[in-house]
Structure formats: C-alpha cells, structure tokens
C-alpha cells in the first residue's frame, strides 16, 4: 500500500522529494503499469511523486530541428499530435496501438520507455527515430540515447527512485525521408504485440541514404537491425531491396519461443514479413510516392 501521494510543481521539487523520502519513494506518471506492479507485489515503493502536474512537461514542440515530447505527454496525445503525425508518423502509429483508448489517455510515452519492456510499441518507434531522453538528476540534466536506458527486461538505467526523465527528443523527418510501423498481435486492441517493427529511411537521388530498423520483442531491449540497415544504404529504394533487408533483419533477430507469442520459428519468419511491409511503406514515402511522409 502507499503511504503518501505527492504532487510536486517543478522538476526540482520532485527530485527534492525523492531525496528527502529515501528508498521507498518513486516517480509516478500515468501509473498504468505501476498500479499493476503494486497489485502484483512487484513494486515496493510506498510514496508516490506524481509528475503529471508539473508545468512544462506537457509539451510537444519542435525546437532546433528536434521534436520534443515532455514526460506528461500521453500515448493518445502523441497519436493525435499534428506535428508528430506529419513529421514522425512512425511514432504516432506506434503510440496509437498501445493498449486501448483508456490506457492511451493515461499512460505516458516516457513511462513506456522507463518501463523498459522490449515489446513497448512507443519505445520501438522512438528507437527507429534514434531518440534521446533528457535525464534530470540532482547533479543536473543530461541527454542520453534511449538505447542506453535499458539495463535488462523491465529495468531502466534511470532509477525512478532517484531521477526522472523530463522529455524526449528526436529529429523531425523531412523531404526524402519516410517511416512506418507494423505490428502483429492476436487482436487489434488491448493486447501486447507478438512482434512489432518500426523503420525510418532516407532516400536521395534514387538511392537509400539512411536507414534505421527497430524490432521488438526479440531481445532484452528494442532490437536495432544494423546489418540490414547498413546493407540498404546505396540500394535502389524498391521492393527487392525491402525484401532482402527484411531477410537480413530476420536472420539477426532472435525471437524466443513464447507461450503467449508463438514459436521462435514462426516469429522469426514473421520478423521478415513485418520488416518488409514497414520498409516497403517507408521507402515509398521517402521516394515521394503516396503523398510524402505526412500521411504515414
């Protein structure tokens, strides 16, 4: 049970509360995972520091070529944001597929990262965008790549008992770039994915210039298919390239057998299918087919 529920009004006040109250205190945002962890006896904290009333953390905005997403921003807000839909559609798609509407209204994108699950749709989208997180500690603030936040399944290197993530940032996509998210699950809502994949590509002068492919849950953290992405560079942005890169991605991904998600063999085959679909869509967008990345 919880002994106290606090609403700090600034990041500093939140960090002071963490410091003052010792080991039993932690940050809570939407709380959609934390409430369950508590019920299951998996989270011993007894004092909650709720950051959802700190002003400034609710923003989604573009600054210095980066889109910034504050720690209070929910999945529903990301999915509905005109800025993110037009300049980082992969993330809007990913966030729109988390849980159901009620969970998306409450659960935050930063929380999706802090929970550090390799299946987290939002985190997969962020990984494809090569996002960074701003970590606030008592010693100051620093930016860190989100791929460095994973210490293992469900374990984030940012300890919510001592520090917090205040915002995320990633480059807004421009002309000649395309992105897409694909998800395989037993139903269309309220269920964790069997697999998900997010890709961001850049095309220039009829050749692929950049590519980033994120896949979950096939490792202890969002998996980045670097071999496949590297192979893509310089290729013509066509169906054959998408198919071959997808094959390479499936070779390096190592999904495990899961009672809930299916056999390793099935999931490995499906990695190829999802990555191919995502790349096909993203390459078409980057090549200017289908109205540019705005509609992704």
């Amino acid at each position: 049970m919880w002994d106290d529920y606090l609403f700090p009004h600034s990041v500093k006040e939140a960090l002071d509360m963490l410091e003052a109250r010792g080991a039993d205190v932690r940050i809570i945002a939407g709380g959609t995972d934390l409430a369950l962890q508590r019920q299951g006896g998996r989270n011993p904290a007894t004092v909650m520091v709720d950051i959802t009333r700190i002003s400034g953390l609710e923003r989604i905005e573009e600054r210095d070529g980066y889109i910034h997403v504050g720690a209070r921003v929910t999945h529903a807000q990301v999915a509905a944001s005109p800025l993110i839909r037009s300049r980082a559609g992969v993330l809007a798609e990913a966030c729109g597929s988390v849980g159901g509407p009620q969970i998306r209204n409450v659960g935050t994108l930063v929380g999706n990262v802090v929970n550090a699950l390799p299946a987290a749709d939002g985190a997969i989208g962020l990984t494809a965008l090569d996002a960074q997180a701003e970590v606030a500690e008592r010693t100051g603030r620093r930016w860190t790549p989100i791929s460095d936040l994973y210490a293992g399944v469900g374990r984030c290197t940012v300890d919510s008992c001592q520090a917090m993530i205040t915002q995320l940032r990633f480059k807004a996509l421009g002309d000649g770039e395309g992105d897409a998210f694909e998800r395989l699950a037993k139903r269309k809502a309220l269920i964790l994915p069997i697999l998900n994949a997010a890709v961001v590509v850049g095309v220039d002068g009829g050749a692929v210039k950049s590519a980033r492919i994120a896949i979950g849950p096939v490792a202890t953290k969002p998996f980045v298919a670097t071999d496949a992405a590297e192979w893509l560079i310089g290729q013509a942005p066509d169906a054959a390239a998408a198919a071959n890169a997808a094959k390479l991605a499936a070779q390096t991904a190592e999904p495990r057998y899961s009672l809930l998600r299916g056999s390793a063999e099935y999931r490995k085959s499906m990695v190829e299918v999802l990555v191919r679909r995502a790349l096909t869509r993203a390459l078409a967008l980057a090549s200017g087919e289908g109205g540019g990345h705005a509609d992704s």
Binding site: M1, G31, P101, I103, L190
Partner: protein, 160 residues
C-alpha cells in the same frame, strides 16, 4: 488521510481516501456509486471506465488522488432525473446488454466518443469501444446502439 476533492457528476465532492486508493474503489465503496463495475481489476477490460475531464480512464487502476481537482463523470451522471441519456436509451431500445456488466463502461466510452466525434463511422465506433471487452454479446447491438444514439442526438440538435 488525504482529502480528495473533485467535481463528481457535476457536484463538488470531498472524501477522505487512502493515498493508495484507486478511483473505482472510492467511487463504489466510499461514495456508493456502484454503477461503475470492476471486472478484471487490471486495466484490461474497460468495464470500470469513467471520464476524467472528459477522457476515458480505467478507474480500477487509476490512483484516486489523480482525480483531485478534476471533473469526474460516472454512469450515474448521465441521466437527467428519470430521463435516460440518449446513449443509455439507445442501448435499451436495441437490447444491447445481455448480462450488462460491461455496459456502464461501454456507455462511458461511447459518451467520450460522441462528445468528440458526433457522427462516427462504424469503424470509428469500433475503435471508440476497442478498450471495452464484452463477454456476452457479439458487439453488433452495442455498435448499433451507439449509431442510433448518434443519430438521435443529431436530430435533437446537439449532445446534452
């Protein structure tokens, strides 16, 4: 014990809660509003759906203190006296409920949907209730009820 103050179904309410109380528990056990149903208790089924500042939340996993200073609407807040809300009336008229346990949550999700989008397509209705699970019906009458409610509310000239 902290005091939770909120506007509940249009009225100011102040209630003593435990810091760890969840909103569904407070509504049902401390305020007697048992129209909000708890089924899974894990945020998976939507039967405990209520509105906080107009947005649907699953109250079984929603810390009650989060509602402090907010406007909360439950199924009890929809009818005007003995006159059912058009969404409720439509559910009755097309016999959408079977056991009825999921229905308060369905109605609240429908309310949030129609407030934002008064003329939803069938697909949008399905998306709107995609966070609500019904174990009795095949959802067809529920979708039909929401369509009917939308139609009637448009004829009446706006949502109440």
């Amino acid at each position: 014990m902290p005091t939770l103050e909120m506007i509940l179904n249009g009225k100011e309410v102040s209630v003593e809660v435990e810091p760890g109380d969840l909103l569904a528990h407070v509504l049902r056990e401390k305020l007697g509003l048992i129209g909000t149903k708890i089924s899974c208790g894990e945020g998976e089924c939507g039967s405990c759906t209520v509105l906080v500042d107009g947005f649907t939340v699953t109250s079984c996993i929603y810390p009650a203190m989060k509602a402090h200073g907010r406007e909360v609407t439950t199924i009890e807040g929809l009818a005007k006296g003995s006159q059912l809300h058009p969404i409720q009336q439509a559910f009755v008229d097309v016999t959408a409920p079977q056991c009825g346990y999921c229905i308060p949550g369905m109605v609240m999700s429908a309310k949030a949907l129609l407030d934002e989008n008064p003329h939803p397509t069938q697909e949008e209705i399905r998306m709107g209730i995609s966070g609500n699970i019904c174990r009795c019906t095949g959802y067809y009458q529920i979708v039909e009820a929401i369509e009917l409610a939308a139609q009637r509310m448009a004829e009446e000239g706006g949502a109440p």
